[in-house]
Structure formats: C-alpha cells, structure tokens
C-alpha cells in the first residue's frame, strides 16, 4: 500500500480541510470580478471628488450605478472575508482566539455588506 488515503478520499480530492480548492478558487473568481469593478469604482470616486451630496445622490440613484456599486461591495467584501480568514489561519494558533476572530470577521463582513446595500436602496428610494 503506497498511500494512507482511502480510494474514496482520493477521488473526492478534498484534502485535510475537507473543502478542496474551494477557498482558493473563490478568492481568484472574486479578484477577477473586482478588476473591472475597481476601475469603475475609481472612475466614480474621482468623478465625485469635490462635488456636492446632490451629485453623489443623483449618481448613485441611477440604476446602473446602484447596481455596479452593489456588485463592487458584494465582491469586495466576499474577497475581504476570504483574505482575512487566511490572515487568521496564518497567525493565530490558539483555538479559542481563532474561533472568536473567525466569527468576528464573518459577522463584520455581513454587517458592512448589509449596511452598504441598505444605504444604496435608501438612496435610490429618496
């Protein structure tokens, strides 16, 4: 016998974390989506620099801009969630602290995403 893995384990290809390459792959997919979205975000931020809240409101109330801002936020925070998890994985080796930080990251990311999306909907409805 050359391997300690069972044939089932080998064919599933999930490794010791039981999630395969899912985390890695999602990090790449979100990063690819963020290339055009970040360029749009930079264009929007520079275009709003030095303007008034009326300009910002009108810009963000436009359906396309609201949609793009929503997509930028969702992909950014999903990407941030995956990245912050790796930081904790790499540096924190105490089970209690690790679980606490992982939960804090998860809840914070959901809270920030929800807050941003709520604000976008509220702006569109103003």
């Amino acid at each position: 016998m050359n391997s300690a893995q069972t044939p089932l384990h080998k064919v599933q290809g999930m490794g010791s974390a039981h999630s395969g390459t899912g985390h890695f792959w999602h990090e790449r997919v979100t990063s690819v989506a963020l290339i055009p979205l970040s360029l749009w975000f930079g264009y929007a931020m520079l275009g709003l620099a030095g303007t008034s809240e009326v300009t910002a409101l009108q810009f963000l109330a436009h359906p396309w801009n609201a949609l793009l801002m929503g997509a930028f936020i969702c992909f950014s925070l999903w990407h941030a969630y995956l990245g912050l998890q790796v930081v904790v994985d790499d540096y924190i080796h105490t089970a209690g602290t690790k679980i606490f930080l992982m939960l804090a990251i998860r809840f914070s990311v959901i809270a920030v995403t929800a807050t941003c999306l709520f604000a976008i909907v509220r702006i569109a409805a103003l």
Partner: protein
Amino acid sequence: MAENPQRPAMSTRPLSPHLTIYRWPVTMATSITHRATGVGLSVGAVILAWWLISISNGPEGWQSFHALADTPIGLLVVFGLTWSLVYHFLNGIRHLAWDLGYGYEKHLAERNSMMILVASVVIAIAIFALAWTGHGGYLR
C-alpha cells in the same frame, strides 16, 4: 550572563533560515504589503459603508462625513486607501499571472516588484493631483 559550561556555544549552532535572519528581497516586501493593504482595504470598506449611509442621510449626513474626511488626517486616510487599492489591484493582477504559471523567474519577479511599488505610488499621487487640480468631479 554567565556561560553554562555544560552547554557550550549554544548560540553558534546552525539555525534553519527564518523570517528575521533573511536579508529582505523586494519580493518579500511586496508579499507582506499585499496582505497589509488587503487588511487596510477591509477597514476601508467600513469607511465606504459610513460614506454611503451619510449620503443617504441627506445634506447633514454629507456634511458630517466631510467634516472629518476633509481634515489633514482624513485626507491622509483617503490617500492611504487610494494607494492601497492601486497597489492591491496591480499586485493582484500579478498574482493572477502567477496562478496561470507566468512570471516565476527570479529576475522578472524582482523587477516587476519594484515596478509595482513605484507605479502604485505614482498612480495614487496622480489620482490626488487630478482631484486637486480640478480634473475630478466630472460627474457633476
């Protein structure tokens, strides 16, 4: 401290190479900077949420945000976030190239590390220069 005669020359025994005894190659600096800017941008997402909420709160909300964002410290934070996004964007594209199997040659990795560091600072300054010279705000 007195030497322990039972355990001579402990400190001169060979150690395997580790973080604090390497001479820092530029690729190491760009790697940890990618992580640091990523964490910084995560904090930036909270500021983005605050900005969006302030817009949705009408003129008073906008003013309360800008009362803080327009201070020297506020502008420094915005500049830091601008540079972080530019850097993470450029170095992220390099990471995707690595994932596709390109750019692993040592001289290439070192050269484009320097290019990314310099370009990120230049682009971030250029964005601020555009805003300050009145070339921003074109969505008005």
